[in-house]
Symmetry: C2
């Protein structure tokens, strides 16, 4: 996964932040940062920490839209958070850099050759986001819980090049992610275990096929 400042020196990074008129905010763990920022035209860059973008619908169903680790990018113009149903929650202490979107493409930026690298990184991050979404859609379009689980495991396994998977999500969160009932999912995991498709030890899963 690409980083916004990949292949850019610390000195040039500071230069970029300066002419982007970026501001830096610090947040404690487990707080909403939705209301602290005017997101209409800003994007956020997580320099340190970990946050989740979640969605709560009228039924109280919770969906994790996105998990953002260190060096991830997110924001309204760049991923439509302009909806009151979304919330952004820090899961760790977080250092956030806010950038006004319109500043990204000011013509004067072009005078700096390293700015091309910055834009390339930005395009690559957006591309990675689309890929992520496509993977999620791939999973969600499976009709059975079993197929959703297998697709999820398959994607992770392929990504890491190993049949041994370590779950970063809790099982409750996984059920949310797959958009299925948690206990039905647990039941299906048991079936997969009983039928010899997988082996599990708490959050370690081995694919046996």
């Amino acid at each position: 996964m690409s980083n916004l400042f990949d292949n850019i020196s610390e000195k040039n990074k500071l230069k970029i932040l300066r002419f982007l008129e970026a501001s830096t905010l610090y947040f404690p763990k487990n707080v909403s940062i939705m209301s602290s920022v005017k997101w209409d035209n800003a994007i956020g860059f997580i320099e340190k920490g970990y946050v989740q973008i979640i969605r709560l619908d009228y039924n109280g169903n919770k969906t994790i839209i996105e998990e953002l680790e260190e060096n991830s990018l997110f924001g309204s113009t760049l991923s439509s958070l302009n909806n009151y149903e979304y919330d952004i929650i820090t899961k760790e202490e977080t250092k956030l850099i806010i950038i006004e979107y319109d500043n990204i493409l000011k013509e004067t930026n072009n005078h700096y050759s390293f700015y091309n690298t910055f834009i390339r990184n930005l395009l690559e991050i957006l591309n990675a986001k689309i890929t992520e979404r496509n993977e999620r859609i791939q999973i969600l379009t499976k009709k059975s819980i079993r197929d959703k689980l297998l697709e999820y495991f398959g994607i992770i396994s392929k990504r890491n090049g190993s049949k041994h998977i370590y779950l970063t999500l809790s099982y409750s969160e996984l059920a949310d992610y797959l958009a299925v009932n948690r206990s039905a999912m647990m039941r299906e995991l048991k079936n997969l275990r009983d039928e010899g498709f997988i082996k599990t030890t708490s959050k370690r899963i081995t694919l046996l096929y």
Copy 2:
């Protein structure tokens, strides 16, 4: 929805296409264009026509990943089509412009002031794609067919600012899009009709809530 050449004159558009070393291809209706192009580092721009990106899994389940109309952008680097399970099918006669991704960020491009506009358009298209995917995920994470339908209708209705919806997808395609069984979906539509939530006349739907 933004276009790659918005706010760029025809003359400058041709200039851009020249230094991007773009090539143009023409396709008839209902053919796969997956194999005609080396997609590993190219993006495609649909100047004229209409294509669908679909996915066929091992069960034979078909999923429409994306529908691309005139002036849309798609491609491997920009949305991970590097998977043999995908196919791209023209649904109309199509004029396709192929651009090598690496050419997009050559430093010499910066000498042209209109190039900034081009990059801005590109960023906005990618952003729109992410938004689209988010909407789809929003729909797919609903647990019942009814809620999926209502979410879908709600999004379209909001987008057009009207309670009157015209379906561009056929009902079979809609079922694929929602990842549900077609006849179960038809049954649920009937229920919604009977319970007075919607009124339908073939592909025209009116929301009554």
